[in-house]
Each structure stands twice: as C-alpha cells, then as structure tokens.
Symmetry: C2
Subunit: 331 residues, 2 copies
C-alpha cells in the first residue's frame, strides 16, 4: 500500500497535543525541571510504563528504579563527602591513637600536609576510611556519622552536607513513588554511611540502599550480640559492582537508572539491556556557577565513556545548567 507520508509538522503538532496534559501534570510534579528534553523524556517514559492498557505497561512490582548517590542525588566536589567525613573523623579520633602522629597517611592528615596526603593516593584514603569506618559496631558507626552531619559544613558551600542534595532529583523521587516505582540507591558509598541520613533526606528506606560493604562479624557477648565492622572489603559497589549487587540483592532488573559518571556505566548498560521500555539518565555537571562543571577530565565523578555511550544510544543527558531551575533546595 502506498500512503502519502504524514508531514513532519503534523507529527510534531500531534505529539504536542498528546503530551500536553502530561507536561501540565509534570509541571506540578517536577517544578524545578525546565521544560526540555530531559523532563519530556522522563514524563514520556513514566507515562508509557504506568498507564493501564499501554503497550509498554510494567506492573508496579517490576518498577525498580536505581540511582547512584554521589553526583546524582547530592554533590561530590571537591571530594566525596564520605571521604571528608573520614578525614574529620580521623582528626576527632586522633587523641585515642597517639601512634598516628608518626604513621602515614595519618601524620600528613593531622599536620595538614596536603602534598604527602595527595601522594598517598587511593591507598592512603582507604587506610583513613578503614580506620574511621571499621572496628566498631554498625550502630556506633551510624551514630558517629549523624554526630558529624549535625555539625559539619561543606568547606566551599558553607552549608550542611545534607542541604547539598539536588532539588530536581528529590522531586523526581517523589514523582516516581507517586507512580508506584520503588527507588533504590546503588552507590559506591559505604552502605551504613548512607543509611545514617539518606532515609530522612531522600525518603528511601534502609533496605533500598545498596552500597560498598565491609565484611561484618556477628559476636555474641554474654547475651549482648553485636555486628562488628571489619576492615576487609566485602563488595566494592562501583562500576561492574553495581549490576552485580543489583542482581544479588534486588534480584530484578531495573527499568530506570540514573547516574552521573563512568562508575555508573555498567548499571546503565544492564538496565538498558532488559526487554521492554527503559530509561537511562545521566546528570551532566554543567553548572560552574550554582554547583560545579566537570566531566571527562575530572578525578572525582569522571564522565567520559558513559557520556559517549549515552550519546550513541540515545540515553538522557541532563544539562544541569540549562534544565534545572534550582539545584539545591535552598536556592
């Protein structure tokens, strides 16, 4: 059969008419998102998988959404906040460990010797993380994180860390929950560190938070059991570790995944490779004024290969500067 092609402007007009009520509804749900390609992509996807009778309909139980944390739900510059916690915590604990005065990388940290600290690299950071995150029970560790958060302020932004969360992403979480999605955090951050504050800040319960884990050890001391955190790494929840823990812990493939860096690439690939409609999103840090601007060259949150694949495969790349009317709740 030979039909005349439908003119492009008719297609565009038709799409707009169909989308209009959705966009109005989304304007209420996602007020900090400017009308633009990312918001349209989110709304179009959510509508397609949640509308009864839609050919792309997904049952509520299967509406698993996974979010990276650092750089996706809150800021991560000029250093992951968990590492800044570890540094502050090591300074707080130093009086209990006089040997740190002579022992690197603790010595450098305590003396403010940035050159030696930087030279110690990831290995040095790991030692400080282990010293401040392990050897104690989960309960005590979580109390320590909360005590820090109650007082600490971000050095450049001069605000509590928990205020450096992205308002548009909070709205997205609410919007997805209203549409019966189940949002998970899947982050390279340590899981108990996040559980100390993320349930309150994001409304995501502890059992929907997945992260890097230390080996823990159950002890039963005369009827008083405790879970001791040991310095041995059980799982590094970064890169390929993300789909691995999604498979191990959730046991379902997400239909929506949001990240911001190459550490999220495998989680997005894994999400994309499922059958049916999928949404893959990246937060692109393009806003040097309100937040930070970085991508391919950054040491923290490098976005390079994932940006290439996003462009090639048509994933959504959120231009923070152009598409978000607010970055932080207090803006």
């Amino acid at each position: 059969m030979n039909r005349p092609p439908i003119p492009a402007h008719t297609v565009r007009w038709f799409c707009l008419v169909l989308l209009w009520p959705l966009l109005l509804q989304a304007a209420e749900s996602l007020p900090s998102w400017h009308d633009g390609p990312s918001k349209n992509a989110i709304v179009t996807f959510v509508e397609a998988v949640t509308r009864e009778g839609s050919k792309d309909f997904v049952a509520p139980a299967e509406r698993i959404a996974v979010f990276d944390n650092d750089g996706t739900l809150w800021s991560e510059q000029s250093m992951y906040f968990q590492v800044l916690f570890a540094f502050d915590e090591a300074r707080r604990l130093a009086p209990q460990y006089p040997e740190w005065k002579q022992k690197q990388p603790f010595k450098a940290l305590l003396e403010g010797d940035q050159k030696t600290m930087t030279a110690s690299g990831m290995d040095g950071v790991s030692k400080i993380v282990a010293a401040t995150h392990t050897g104690i029970s989960t309960e005590i560790f979580i109390a320590n994180v909360r005590a820090w958060l109650a007082k600490a302020r971000h050095p450049q932004k001069d605000r509590p860390y928990t205020e450096l969360v992205y308002q548009p992403m909070l709205e997205l979480l609410d919007y997805l929950r209203a549409k019966e999605f189940k949002p998970y955090i899947v982050s390279g951050g340590e899981v108990a560190f996040m559980r100390a504050w993320a349930p309150e800040v994001y409304g995501i319960p502890p059992e929907q938070i997945i992260g890097t884990r230390f080996v823990s050890q159950y002890q039963y001391n005369n009827g008083r059991p405790l879970i001791l955190r040991t310095p041995r790494l059980a799982h590094n929840d970064d890169g390929p570790g993300k789909p691995e823990s999604i498979d191990a812990i959730i046991g379902r493939r997400p239909i929506l995944a949001f990240g911001n860096s190459d550490g999220d690439l495998q989680m997005l690939q894994w999400t994309a490779a499922g059958s049916g409609k999928r949404f893959m999103g990246l937060v692109h840090h393009t806003d040097a004024k309100r937040e930070w601007a970085y991508d391919r060259q950054s040491k923290i949150g490098r976005l390079d290969k994932a940006l290439d694949q996003a462009r090639a495969d048509g994933w959504t790349v959120v231009d923070m500067q152009a598409e978000w009317s607010r970055v932080y709740p207090s803006d």
Copy 2:
C-alpha cells in the same frame, strides 16, 4: 502500699476476655493453627505491635519479619531440596562432561554409589553444587531450577517439591502481610535458587529473599551484558551469616524471626536483643507421621542449642504435631 493479690483465676479470666476477639479473628487468619500456646503467642504479639495507641506499637516500616526457609517454610528431609536439585542437575548435565565418569564425587553420584558419595561429605556436595549452580548466568540458572521443579517429585512424598510447603506458615505470612509486616526469607539456601520459585509460592518478592551467594561477575559482550555466577562463595548465609546479611542488606533489626534449627540461632538472638517487644519462634519437627520428627540428633536441620535457648528465654516453640491441623496445603 499493701494490696491483696489478685486471685490467679481472675487474672486468667480477664486475659481470656481480652484475648477472645483476637482469637476469633486469628481463627479466620490462621485456620490451620490449633488454639494453643504458639498461636496465642503470635496473635498477642502481632496485636501488641500493630494496635494504634498500644505501648508496644511499631510503625509499619519497622515491621520486619525474617523467616528461615528449609524446615521453617518447607520441608528439608531427607536432604535439603536444593542439594537434591544439584544431584538431579548433575545427572542431567553429565553427557556434557564426559570427564565426570572418572572424577569424584561425580563418578559416585552417576553410578549411584551412595557409600562413596556419603564419604565425600560436605566437600563432595559442595563440588556438585558448584558444578550445577555456577559458570552460567543468573537467568539461565533460574530457568534450570524452574525446569527441574516442573517435573521433579520428592522421593518419599511423591509430590512436587513446591507442594511440601507448610500451610500454617503460608497463613502466617498472609496474616503478617495483612498487618503490614514485611516478611523476608533469610536462608542458607542459595539466593537465586529460591528466587526461581519462592515469589510465586510464598508471595515474597525477589528483593525480600536473602540467602547464600556466589561471587558474580558482570560481563559486557558487544552490547549484551550478562551476570556470570562464579564458583567462589561470596556469603554463607547460615548461623552468624544470617544477622550479618540482615544488617548488610536490610539495615534494620527484625521484630519477628522464625527458624527451626541451630543455623537460625544467631538470627533469633539478634532479633531478641532489640529494644521493645519481639517475637522469636522455632518450628519443632515432632510429626513423624505427616512430616518428619527430628531435633537434637539430626544431621539435617539439627535443633539443639537453639532449643535450649528457646526454652531458657521463653521463645515460642511450635509443636508441629500438636499445634498444626494441616502440615501441607494438600493435607
């Protein structure tokens, strides 16, 4: 102040009057439970933590309930069903591995040489489990388990394995869900093995199933990612491994725990040690006629130390023979 003591029969009468409406309601919810100490303990606990205004009230989000699987939700004799799957699966796969004809413990299994098989012990079983459970993707493994379940029958009971679940425990799961509890399986069984059938049989979704895990490995083969199961053990979810994985994966302490063996002892201790009202239960296999009778001397599902602690600490011990009017759904 010196008050005359209230006579015991008055106390008993008063308690009965208070409990009566609850017991009537529970008779509908738990029809396969005879009126007896276990049912009373369950109903009294659930009522105390769920009734608005109760001094023991627990918010729905904190109503985490954990259940062992083998021997607690379904039978485990004369061998864990997952091991019987592994044996059947090794026989099915044998043509692809001609070397097994000369290699123990595969040789003994294929030849039906029970003496050598038994002599190979847990090490021999582990080899057969690893050979049948790993080296493939999670998706293929789950498909294999489902294909087996569709045809396999329990050797003594001559019924599909999924019919050897305990009717009273299915009712308990429903009752708890109706009271806004969130039930988890926390089992020594391998997690993907359980996810192949437990969501349908128990109504427990994959993300609420925790078990023993193999290390998995994300692979990206020209745009087709897969999660490969490797033979290395990531976590043994038995004994102390149970509270460890509850802490790592759920991140909240359960308020109700049910097990049946010494492998559940630490999970019950961990649950008991939380603040507020708690429920710890053990299924005691006392029914040689309808199911099996075993405890302190059994190689499978030994119940010895946990039985002592249950008696000492007043945990609920369910006498299967006396307290369950039905064992299996088909009874």
